[in-house]
Amino acid sequence: MKRLHEKYQGHITLLARLVLGAVLIVAGGLKAFVPAEAASAVAAYKILPTPLAHIAGYALPWLEIAIGLLLIIGISVRMSAIVSGTIMLLFIGAISSVWARGILIDCGCFGGGGEIDPTKAAEVHRAYAIEIARDVGLALSALYLYFFPYGLFSVEKLANTGKEI
């Protein structure tokens, strides 16, 4: 088992990098060009005071894009893994918190967002569960990258050939 993992670790790292990176870029990209919507989506969580929520709404999409690019190219993978893992944990915490408080919102994960119709409660709760599951999966990918940051096709590895793995 251990040997098997050693053999494919480079592939798994590459896969984790691509998946996590692509999700971050798509999610960030959809939000970055509708800043008012992103700000409003963060405000709808009612966790941060509104002005702070707006700054978070403006900054988060760009951070996601930057980290996503780093992951795909393969630079500072470990650091990017820490940041993206933290972002995922924040999302999980935020969604759990609105669920627990009974607030019905569109998570704003892929653009859009805000408060929605109370009659759709069941639907929204299922959506919360799916979002949490997805973010847990992505957080696990980030955790894997933290321990095994060096894989195939990464700029970083090329720069350090011979010293790594």
């Binding site: 008012a36 409003s40 403006y58 760009w62 951070l63 780093l70 500072s76 650091m79 805000g114």
Partner: protein, 235 residues
């Protein structure tokens, strides 16, 4: 992983990467904020050339959740519950607002406005400003303007005190009293009283209309002017 990689060069790369990421995020934030403020200015354009109508004094009906009463003693009494950020209230205003204004100005009906503010802090701020405008005798003007500029999204930062003062300024509410009232939140207690009236009247959403104390249940999907007119005329 080898310890050899943790050389001085590696530290340099790390700081370079952190610096680049910060730069990207910072540029992005500036870009986002600028495009947001352009959008806000576009909304304000809807108020260009607005002229204040004749002032209408507003009193408070303390027996009915301190609703703002316009033209007391009319033949018909219309009670309205609206949230300044609610998009359906904007539709309501654009379909029926003009008719309701004429009912007040021609003294055909008493109209009582109850300002809901359950959509968040920006509703509370906007409600406060609307009540300040009522003190100036220009509730109807300010109310109409709020819906003219209403952003598509709630709590997007648009209804700041600064922008609310600007809305007043653009339509001709320039008095220091109004500005102070908006910026210091003088009417926040009244906003709370209005908000508390929703459960008392079993109002579950906005806009909600009572005609002579009876809930107006519309038959059509939208807000049909002739349907509403008939309901008002029937009393």
């Amino acid at each position: 992983m080898s310890k050899a990689a943790k050389s001085g060069g590696d530290h340099f790369t790390r700081w370079l990467v952190i610096g680049m990421v910060s730069l990207v995020v910072l540029t992005g934030v500036v870009f986002s904020m600028m495009s947001s403020s352009t959008k806000a200015n576009e909304s304000f354009a809807a108020l260009k050339g607005y002229t204040l109508a004749e002032p209408v004094s507003a009193t408070l009906d303390t027996a009915a959740g301190s609703g703002l009463v316009l033209n007391p003693g009319g033949a018909v009494r219309i009670d309205l519950w609206e949230d300044p950020q609610c998009p359906v209230c904007r539709t309501f205003e654009s379909s029926l607002g003009e008719y309701i204004d004429t009912l007040v100005r021609a003294k055909k009906a008493t109209v009582v406005y109850h300002i809901a503010s359950f959509l968040g802090s920006e509703s509370i701020r906007a409600a406060n400003a609307m009540m300040c405008a009522a003190d100036e005798g220009h509730y109807l003007d300010f109310h109409q303007s709020i819906y003219l500029v209403q952003p598509a999204l709630e709590n997007s930062g648009f209804f700041s005190n600064e922008n609310l003062v600007k809305i007043g300024d653009m339509i001709g509410l320039k008095s220091e009293k109004f500005t102070n009232c908006v910026t210091s939140g003088s009417k926040l207690e009244l906003v709370k009283t209005h908000a508390a009236s929703l459960p008392t009247y079993k109002v579950q959403g906005t806009p909600t209309v009572f005609i002579n104390g009876k809930l107006w249940q519309r038959a059509s999907n939208g807000f049909d002017l002739s349907e509403f007119r008939l309901a008002v005329e029937a009393g």
